[in-house]
Structure formats: C-alpha cells, structure tokens
C-alpha cells in the first residue's frame, strides 16, 4: 500500500526554482532515501510535508490521517532548557497527553536507545551520538505512520556515524517504520534503503530511482559486491550533477 506520494510538486522561492516537478512515493513499511547534492532542495521537501511551507503546485497524498509525519530536523533541535526526558515527551505533550502518561510511554524505549541513565541530563551534557539518538527517539515516540529523517547522522564524526548507522539498522529491522530519509551520504543511503531517489542540483528534479535488493543486515560486515556497484553508480550520477555547472 502506498503510504505517501508526491506528484509533480514544484516550489519556487521568489524567482528561484528549488523543486522542479518532483514525483516520488513511499510504500507502507518501506525505507526510502532521497539523495542529493547540498542545497538541492531536500529539506524543502520535508518542509512541504510537515506543513512549514505551503504547497505551491502539485499534489501530496498520504494514506490515513491528516498529520501522519514525525519529523527529525537536520540539526537535533533538542530544547537546551528541557531535560532529556522532557525533550522526548515533547511530541506527546503537544498531542495533549498528560506528562505522566507520556513518560510511561517513553520509558520502555529508553534502554534500546541507550538513554536510560541520562533522562535527567540536559542536552548539552550529552555526546553528539546520544543527542542524535534522543532526537530519533523523540521522533519515533510520536507514533506517526511515517518518519521523516533529515540527515540524522550528518553532524557526527565518522566513527560515531558508523556506530549509529549499525545501531539504527538493527532498530529499523525490528520495527520496520515507514521511513523517508534525506542524506547526501551515498554509503548511508545504500546501507539503509529499500529504494533511493537521486535529486539533481537546484532546481531539484528526480534524476534516478534505484532499488536496493540487498539482504539485511547490511552493516557490521564487509559490504557486498552488489552494494559497491550501486554506490559506484550513485556516486557517478551525483558527480555528473556537480560537474554540470550551469
């Protein structure tokens, strides 16, 4: 079943076209990545979905309820004045769930996300990886049907990023959240996705759509030859884009 689809969605800021007739869809339980150069318009797609930016042309349709997205912004956007536990329950509080019930809902997930001992800490007291896990948990606990993750591992150092990706793959294999991931990391896209859309430079068009039929788990072991092949193809496609200066 199709969980989300964008049809001919275009966006211009003033005279600057940013999105040019974007078509994409995400199936229920599917992990889809949007891969594109910096400044292509990837975050803009998410801003359309979350309603921060009004839709200009084209249509967006999603299965089920109106507000079906949980959004993880590009930087973690943890509120520095809230303790971790209160950051985690923010989405539930906004939904009108009393604080006590919200905490009870978050409680069982803390261990899995490695945050059990840090609930009373402030975000500034946590390492980058832990902040990212907290931001991810804040997204997941909202119980929305589609997770929108905007470069969740982009700000991390290489080692932490690899650890987080491996950890995240495990979580995802257990839960199978319908996920739309934005990234400009080719390896990450191949490691995590069922399907990948490649965007051009601004104005962004979809220039490739690739299936990744590699069995999971893919991380924590040497990459398969097939993964290398897909990575090489994606890299080639992206490099052509960046070379194609207008």
């Amino acid at each position: 079943m199709t969980a989300l689809s964008l049809n001919d969605v275009s966006v211009t800021f003033g005279d600057i076209p940013v999105l040019d007739r974007i078509n994409l869809h995400v199936e229920q339980g599917e992990f889809v990545s949007i891969l594109g150069p910096s400044g292509a318009g990837k975050s803009t797609i998410f801003r359309l979905l979350t309603g921060t930016l009004p839709l200009q042309t084209g249509t967006i349709s999603c299965a089920g309820r109106e507000n079906s997205f949980a959004f993880m912004p590009q930087r973690d956007a943890l509120m520095p004045w809230r303790r971790i536990i209160d950051n985690l329950t923010l989405g539930l509080e906004v939904q009108g769930i009393p604080r006590k019930d919200a905490r009870a809902q978050v409680g069982p997930l803390l261990g899995e996300f490695g945050l059990a001992d840090f609930t009373t800490h402030y975000p500034a007291q946590l390492s980058g990886g832990m902040r990212q896990r907290a931001a991810l948990l804040r997204t997941i606990v909202q119980g929305r049907s589609i997770q929108l993750l905007d470069e969740p591992f982009g700000a991390l150092d290489a080692l932490t990023r690899t650890q987080m990706q491996t950890w995240f793959e495990d979580r995802w294999r257990a839960a199978r959240w319908t996920t739309l991931l934005v990234t400009h990391d080719v390896r990450e896209a191949v490691a995590l996705s069922d399907r990948i859309y490649v965007l051009s430079r601004r104005p962004a068009r979809v220039i490739a759509e690739i299936n990744v039929p590699i069995p999971r788990p893919r991380l924590g072991r040497p990459p398969s030859a097939q993964a290398y092949e897909i990575e090489a193809y994606l890299l080639e496609t992206l490099l052509q884009q960046t070379g194609e200066t207008s």
């Binding site: 979350t50 309603g51 912004p73 509120m79 520095p80 840090f118 500034a124 007291q125 832990m130 909202q142």
Partner: protein, 262 residues
C-alpha cells in the same frame, strides 16, 4: 561521555575577592586622604564620618528608605507586568508591534529631568508619580529583551513544533518563551539598576518622604555626610536587588550552567 555539573558556589566566592578588595582599598585611600589633607568635612567627609552619621541617623534614614523601597517595588512590579503582557501581545501581533515600537523608543528618549516634574505636577506628591517614573524607566529594557528573546528562537525548533501539530500558543509556551529567558534576565539586570535611582530622583523632584528627600534636605543644609549616607543606602539597595536577580537567574536558567563549561 557525560559532563559533570560544575560546582559554582565556591568559584563565585573566589571570583568575588578582587572586587571586594578594590572597593575596600578605595575607601581606605579616601579615608587616608581626608585625614592627611585636613579637608573640611563640609567639603568631603571621611568614610568613617559617613558611617558614623548612618548610625546616628538610623531612624531617619530607615523611615525614609521604606517609601523609596515601596516606590521601587511597586514601579518595578508594574513595569514587569506590563512588559510581559505587552510582549506577548506584540509577539502574537507583528503589525501592532511595528506600529507601537517607535512609541516605546520615544518613551526612552524623554529626559527624566524634564518628565519627572511634570509627572509630579499631574499626580501629586504621593506614591503614584514615583511608581510611574520607576515603571517608565525600567519598562523598556525588559520589553525589548523579551521581544528580541522571542525572535531568537531556533527556527528548527519552531519547524519541529509545527511538525508535531503544535498550536501557536503551544509553540509560544514550549519554545519561544523559554528561548527568551536568557534575554529577559539580561534586560532585568539593566532595569533593576535603574529602578532605585529613578525612585530617588522622583522623590527629589517632589515628595513627602524618601531617600530623595533626605538628600535634598541634607544638601540644602550643607551636610554632605548625610547626602553620602543616603547614597550608600541607595547603592546597597541596588546591590541587593541585583544579587536577587542573579540568584533568580541562576535558578531559572540552571540548564545554562551545564552548558557554560563546554
């Protein structure tokens, strides 16, 4: 991975030592100068004499400190309430903000020397004109701090709130208001240092009692020692208020202390 919460009390005391030393040595130098030069106490009284006068006139000074304190607190409470209320209205109505802000700026350009006698003329010698003047002087720094503080909210946090389906009010309470707190305290600290001075000046222009009246009378009877005694009290009041805001800030912005040591 985890950064320890720093202990601040001990550090604070150690950091305070140079300030105390410099104040004490200034008084010592002053005392020595007065004694060595033999200058008339009608020109410049020694600190010891000022202290002596404070003890001798303690009843008079206390009776006149109370009205000043009343005016300061009432005026400050009023400006705090109005600044908060107005800042929320202005935040929800940007058009009103653009229309009204110039008026507030103008209110700050009015010289206190000129406006104080007028306010006393309109409202008499009672508490009202003092409260109004204290409010006028302290209101603007807090309002500006709050309005700027709301605007400083991280846009990603606002996007996040919107993605969660938060109403404008929820976003204000959970994101914009807490974001403004560090700014608010900066404004509060500026305001509080103006408050006592404004109250005393208002009394000076016209009142029945208050530190301003003590200063006026002492000046007219050539008693610089009593003038200085009143000045000392007013400084102490300001210092106490300043310390109280610092303490309040420490409590409310505890999350910033853990960040400060990054």
């Amino acid at each position: 991975m985890q950064r320890p919460v720093p202990r601040q009390t001990g550090e604070g005391l150690v950091r305070g030592i140079p300030a105390v030393l410099s104040v004490v040595s200034a008084f010592v130098i002053w005392e020595i100068y007065v004694r060595v030069s033999g200058i008339s106490p009608l020109m410049l009284p020694a600190p010891s004499r000022v202290l002596e006068q404070m003890v001798q006139n303690r009843v008079l000074l206390w009776d006149n400190t109370v009205p000043t304190l009343k005016a300061t607190f009432a005026g400050f409470a009023m400006s705090l309430t109005v600044a908060f209320g107005l800042s929320i209205i202005l935040d929800f109505m940007p058009r009103v903000r653009r229309a009204l802000f110039p008026i507030f700026v103008v209110s700050q350009t009015l010289p206190l020397v000129a406006i104080a006698p007028l306010v006393v003329l309109w409202f008499g010698f009672d508490l009202t004109p003092k409260v109004l003047l204290v409010a006028l002087v302290t209101f603007f720094p807090m309002l500006v701090a709050l309005v700027d503080g709301y605007a400083s909210t991280d846009p990603e946090i606002e996007d996040l709130m919107r993605s969660m389906g938060a109403t404008r009010g929820q976003t204000f309470r959970a994101a914009r208001f807490p974001s403004a707190m560090p700014y608010f305290f900066a404004g509060l600290r500026i305001s509080i240092t103006y408050a006592v001075v404004a109250a005393i000046f208002a009394e000076y222009v016209g009142a029945r009692a208050g530190l301003g009246i003590v200063i006026l009378n002492a000046k007219n009877s050539f008693r610089p020692d009593i003038v200085l005694a009143a000045v000392v009290i007013s400084s102490l009041l300001t210092l106490v208020l300043f310390a109280a805001t610092a303490l309040l800030q420490r409590t409310v912005l505890r999350w910033r202390d853990v960040e400060g040591h990054r």
